[in-house]
């Protein structure tokens, strides 16, 4: 499978665990679920995928969704506004 480069944005607990707010990542993952597991293994994120939601280009989407070069991906921990 071809690799692609995407932008990953980190917020809150992810930003602290990764140490940066954004980075470019090269990946061969086909789905966002695979991509999260790849990053979790690489960076040691503590959050389980089933506790999270995922966003592509600033909109919620399915973990089964595919993604393309240039997409902005963000993993969304449980929100706590209000």
């Amino acid at each position: 499978m071809d690799s692609k480069i995407v932008q990953v944005s980190y917020f809150a607990i992810f930003r602290e665990q990764r140490g940066v707010a954004q980075e470019s990542c090269s990946t061969e993952s086909a789905t966002l679920a695979e991509f999260y597991e790849e990053l979790k293994a690489r960076h040691g994120f503590s959050m389980a995928q089933k506790s999270l939601r995922v966003a592509k280009n600033a909109e919620f989407c399915s973990w089964d969704a595919d993604f393309a070069a240039g997409d902005e991906i963000a993993f969304i921990p449980p929100v706590a506004g209000g």
Binding site: Q49, K50, S51, R53, V79, A80, G81
Partner: protein
């Protein structure tokens, strides 16, 4: 209208802008920083947002409220950054012809904002520890969070 604000929320000014001679009801909700959570003394909070997405998602929430309830106008402002105990974290104001739809729309908006708009809260406790609210317990022994209706 929804806005994230790095500055203190001026609810008087927001309220004055919500005006209509057709309105018989003006309902507001003000969320404030509480000095305790889960049995721990909270000194201050930090709110962080995924700004572009928070704006999109909150705009959707407000559009839904306008569809569901026959209101005249609605404004919501949410703080980001460091807040002290007693500070206003969020403000919702709804203008409507009658009180029922004003209360309902206000409740809908604050509940949906809390459930799905990407804003996170870090609490700083009196014992020196900190916690991203609702995140720590998602490590390892993960549990599933309720998703809003109509998962997109």
């Amino acid at each position: 209208m929804f806005n994230l604000s790095v500055q203190a929320i001026n609810s008087d000014e927001l309220g004055r802008k919500l005006s209509s001679s057709e309105a018989g009801a003006f309902v507001t909700f003000e969320g404030r920083v509480r000095n305790h959570n889960d049995g721990k003394a909270v000194l201050r909070l930090e709110y962080e947002a995924y700004s572009a997405m928070a704006q999109k998602e909150a705009d959707l929430v407000i559009a839904e409220a306008r569809r569901l309830f026959p209101i005249i106008d609605l404004v919501c402002v949410h703080r980001v950054g460091l807040l002290e105990v007693g500070d206003m974290a969020v403000w919702v104001g709804v203008l409507a012809r009658h009180r029922a739809e004003a209360f309902d729309a206000c409740r809908y908006v604050i509940d949906q904002i809390k459930a799905r708009v990407p804003i996170w809260k870090k609490e700083y406790y009196s014992d020196g520890s900190t916690n991203w609210v609702d995140c720590a317990e998602c490590a390892a022994h993960a549990h599933t969070h309720a998703l809003p209706p109509g998962e997109r």
